[in-house]
Amino acid sequence: MTHPSDALLSAHVDGEAPEGVAAHVASCVQCRARVEALAGVAGWVAETLDAEHEVPPSLLAAVTAEPAAPRSGSGWRGAAAAAALLSLVGALVLALGDGARTPSLREEVVADHRRLGAGAPEVFASGADASEVLARHFAPHLGVAPVVGGLPGAELVGGRRCTFGDTPAALLTYRRAAETLSLFVFDGVDEAEGCARYGEESVCARRAGALTLMLVGPEPPAELGPLLASATVARGAQ
């Protein structure tokens, strides 16, 4: 059987393929799988990226200005500069008004874990073997290598590369029973090992080679500490 080319199968995804392609796809398991894969990335692009950005008021004002007004000058810049100045003043007021100390790294990760809350990353990859999931889905994209493997009794459900200030980090999200655990992996921070309780959450830190692991969850330190200690770490990170 002669199968349609990728170009035709891809066009079929968009409803732009010549007659005959649809009939072939309907009767060919192999081509149907290929169409599903191509449609999958197309849908992913549409769902993940932003087709529209929020328009700054200064830009809207600039493009709706009457032709007599300067249209190619710095209309949006002037308004943007004013907005930036206001932001700066606001930040200064906040800075002066907030005499509190800078939160520690532990407090920051706890705060982020709380914000994550019920909005934990969607499950897009899961499996009993966390190391395999990491290797297949996360490792190429985390940017912190070598990466950390599984937590005993917990299922890895999400992960992302991110930063804390200027520090590269990775956030791995696990489900354990009905609870969410956040494992932050830092490269090159100097954080002492040990656990602490912050309100309803605990945070524990552990060093693994150049990496620092910080696990946040509702368990008490006596439970969270051993859990982090038993986390498997990719070879080379220990």
Partner: protein
Amino acid sequence: MDRHAFDRATLAHLGAVLAFARRLTRGRREGWEPEDLVQATYARAYDRWRDLEDPGRARAWLFTIARRLHIDRVRSHRARPELRLVRGSDRRAPERCVAPETVERPDRAALEDALDALPGSQREAVLLRDLWGFRYEEIAEMTGVPIGTVRSRIARGRASLVERLGADRTRAGGAS
């Protein structure tokens, strides 16, 4: 000239044109801010409003103008035009692990990286089709190539994404 008719037909697309302009200008060294490009696009569109026969095609028309203005700008700087990925402007830099109010999809960075690895012409075709939903005919007009070339670029771009990301990740909630 009917200013209100122009605004009615074009302002609804301002956010999309801004997103497109940010992808066009990101990482380039022409000193061309995306807002500059958007403003120039709307100025050019207003001047040529009578050329647009069908207001229903305003979005594709605005994209075409933005793209051509950008190409002119890039050529004047003796560099090749290329659709770049937005880094930072729409993905706050430095990006917090957890955004203050919303949690970004965890796989967005992987998708951006995979798109970034595509040749510029394929990336442009894929984004025009899959992100902004233009028809092949519109993309062909926009980019000045035959429809067959558009079809081929989209297919090769998508195939590369499947290969790079893994087909199983392209399905919602795909468990491994």
